[in-house]
């Protein structure tokens, strides 16, 4: 076992020169892909990258055939990548052309370019494999990718190109942000929107092409989509989203390259994608900004707050009709459509807040704090009702329901504005009288 341990340590700590370059290169690729992908995902063009990466295949085959035709071995990486880039750009233009000149929608344009270019690539690879000259054996690696078998020099190319992409993203961050959020505004401000777009798409093609060797053309799209999609759950700020996506990409790249370096049977691309997907799933659930759990928690909170406020209003209105004597839970049962159990749970919660106080004979009364809260809610409710009656011409019998929803979210500024509009004055006019009949027999209240 010590040998295996030694081996793992060697890979993880990047002691080998070759491993070091490969791992660094793939990590840098992850960073670049995360950054560029952020813009693609925000611009709702996530799968454009898929079309581009599939479109590179005929480019690789064509470059190989050309190089062999001119007497080379067809193994020059830069030549193959150049061919891939040319066809990546062609694919992108194809998508644009179909979108612009036909009535077909985005998804069809992407699907057609993706499948037809890839089919062309497959047909051309069929020819490449018959060629006696040149070494066609390595061409397939562009489809699935394998970082562990990369040569040091190739990995160095990848490292350098990925660093250039990262630098370009950093330099053009402001321009990209503008185009990303408001293309028309950017254009009106005099920014060369078309040019910025071209540069951004160029970076996408660049990331795709340099990712081919390491992760393969089918999965390179994941490096562009998954980290930004995961980052979106954590922040609403574009700069932070880009950084988080970059880091997720970097970590997945690092883990993918090292794991497949340790166990050569494991392909690099899928490992990277699975790590990134793992991060995505965690973010989906636990993301602090848009994660499912946070959103569910917020929802529960708002339901609770609403429930409590309903209780306070019911108690207040009961007091208005029946006087300030302590009330029984059953007295409030008719005021809303709530069950006995719900109502007693709300009462217990209000008790914890110190808003209601139980009396000896199983009755309840509002505390001073409770009365203040109740007054506030009822006041909001009635101000809104008055506003609707006076300014929206809604019949008094119909305003209760609308006000019932909005009373919980009226901010202070809004209340002030309502007061101004209705010409009532602050606390001086305490709580306006209800503009409609209230009481258990008034079914509108429900």
């Amino acid at each position: 076992m010590p040998e295996l341990w030694e081996d793992m340590l060697r890979t993880l700590s990047l002691r080998d020169h070759n491993t070091r370059v490969v791992v660094l290169g793939v990590s840098m690729l992850g960073l670049a892909a995360g950054l560029v992908g952020t813009f693609m995902v925000l611009r709702k063009r996530a799968l454009l990258t898929d079309a581009v990466s599939h479109a590179t295949l005929p480019g690789i085959a064509a470059a190989f055939m050309l190089m062999v035709a001119f007497g080379g071995s067809g193994r020059s990486l830069s030549g193959l990548l150049l061919g891939a880039a040319v066809f990546g750009v062609l694919g992108m233009l194809g998508v644009q052309a179909i979108r612009k000149y036909t009535r077909l929608k985005d998804d069809v344009a992407l699907g057609i370019v993706l499948s037809v270019f890839f089919g062309l690539g497959v047909a051309m690879l069929g020819l490449v494999q018959e060629m006696r000259q040149g070494h066609a054996a390595g061409i397939d690696r562009f489809i699935y990718g394998q970082a562990a078998t990369m040569l040091g020099a190739d990995a160095m190319t990848m490292l350098v190109m990925a660093s250039i992409v990262v630098a370009a993203c950093a330099l053009l961050f402001k321009e990209f942000t503008l185009v990303c959020f408001d293309e028309q505004y950017a254009g009106a401000q005099g920014w060369p929107v078309g040019m910025i777009d071209v540069v951004m798409m160029g970076l996408v093609v660049a990331v795709t092409v340099i990712g081919l060797q390491a992760v393969g053309l089918i999965l390179v799209v994941a490096m562009l989509i998954v980290p930004p999609a995961a980052a979106r759950f954590w922040t609403d700020n574009l700069l932070r989203m880009g950084l988080v996506a970059g880091v997720i990409g970097l970590v997945s790249g690092y883990l993918g390259a090292t794991v497949s370096g340790m166990a050569p049977r494991l392909p690099t691309g899928p490992i990277i994608v699975l790590v990134a997907t793992g991060v995505f799933v965690v973010s989906l659930l636990a993301g602090t900004r848009r994660g499912v759990l946070v959103r569910a928690w917020r929802h529960v909170q708002s339901v609770r707050r609403t429930g409590l406020q309903h209780l306070m209003r019911a108690a207040f209105e009961h007091a208005e009709l029946a006087g300030d004597e302590p009330f029984a839970a059953d007295d409030l049962l008719d005021r809303r459509s709530w069950s006995k159990r719900e109502l007693s749970r709300l009462l217990r919660r209000a008790q914890r807040y110190g808003w209601v106080v139980p009396t000896s004979d199983d009755r309840w009364r509002l505390s001073d704090a409770g009365r203040r809260e109740a007054r506030r809610v009822v006041r909001n409710h009635r101000l809104w009702e008055l506003f609707l009656i006076e300014h929206a011409d809604i019949a008094p019998s119909h305003v209760d329901r609308d006000a019932d929803r909005i009373e919980h979210v009226l901010g202070e500024a809004m209340v002030e504005q309502l007061e101004r509009t209705l010409r009532t004055r602050g606390e001086a006019v305490a709580v306006p009288a209800s503009p409609h009949r209230i009481g258990g027999d008034d079914k509108v209240t429900r």
Partner: protein
Amino acid sequence: MTWYPFDTWIVIVGALAALACALPGCFLVLRRMSLMGDAISHAVLPGLAIAFLVTASRASWPMFVGAAAVGVLTAILSGWVERVGKVEAQAALGVVFTALFAVGLILIRFAADHVDIDADCVLYGEIELAPLRTVSVLGFDIPQPALVNGGMLLINVLVIGLLYKEMKISAFDPQLATTLGINATAMHYLLMGLVAATVVAAFESVGSILVIAMLIVPGAVGHLLSDRLSSMLGIAAVVAVLSAVLGHVGAITLPPLAGFDDTRTAGMMVVVAGGLFVLAMSFGPRYGLVSRAITQLGLGLRIAQEDLLATLYRLEEQGDDRSTPAAIRADQLRATLDLDPLRHRLLLRRLHRGQLVTRTDAGYALTDAGRSLARDLVRTHRLWETYLDQYTGTPADHLHLAAEQLEHATSPTMQQQLAERTGSPATDPQGKTIPSPPNDASR
């Protein structure tokens, strides 16, 4: 080229698979879900791999069911990520299918030890080997892939035929479908199920790349050429069959021209489908680029011609002697109209041939037919100026340009209404005489 019986079988298998894909594909195209076909065909990989690992064979019912289940799962999962996670649709699809594909690749790496399978055959398929595995049916030796794909095609035709109305309404207007009592969600998942099953049935014989292309391209061609669902389905079917036939012929005839033996049929079939798409995109009768360009060119020519006639009329109007048609020198005309020389000459020649203008040594003049056309146009123009001035408050210096555009799109009825609305004045806001209507005797 030598054509063997198995070439026929290859074409038949390809055509059956392409047809089976093209029919549900039309609905994907209409529902803007083409990429779902792409995603499903990538995502079935883990289902296949697990089935391989479990059953240790390549053709079995568990494999079919497992893969199709994962296919439907892709649709469910991506819908879930989109809805619950509030992730943008394309990104959600991308996340789900790449993750499943990655799982599939790793599983296949392990399965390869036990079963003869690699990812290549999933991608490219082995349509060339399809005729080799035959089953005997009623005494005939029929390749098994032909049976599988034919069966799938039959299922698709039956389901689409039986639920044609329901699928049509849900495809175009899910809300309407719901109000009519059709379960649009059920239709959605039924379609996803059909797509997944078709993908799985076809992938082994023809490869997923042909499957993706045939799900999208024939439907797209149909959509470009037709506005009716039934004819769209028909066109898609024709495209599918044509791609299969021409694709195989191309695969065995084209490479020898460049000194090769042949190439992968599946790839060539896709290339042919792509070519057919480009043809439809260029030459489609209604939405094709060329036909639209021709229509536009014709319109442009008519407008330029009308402008030229009207200009001749106006120049003639300015001349002092109105009883004899004045000849207008070509360069004078050109300067007024600001046309490039080539187009100018072309227009004049066309008008001359149409006997709307005559050419004399002194220059060009309107014939009677030309003059009545021009008069009508100028009348429309000046009526529009009057109307715009009276009713829309357009500033006086903007009247001409607006009327210049409207005059070409004004029918006789409309011209009459304009005259009625403006009270048939004798002059326009600039004080120029409005010519009387053509059938009016007093000139």
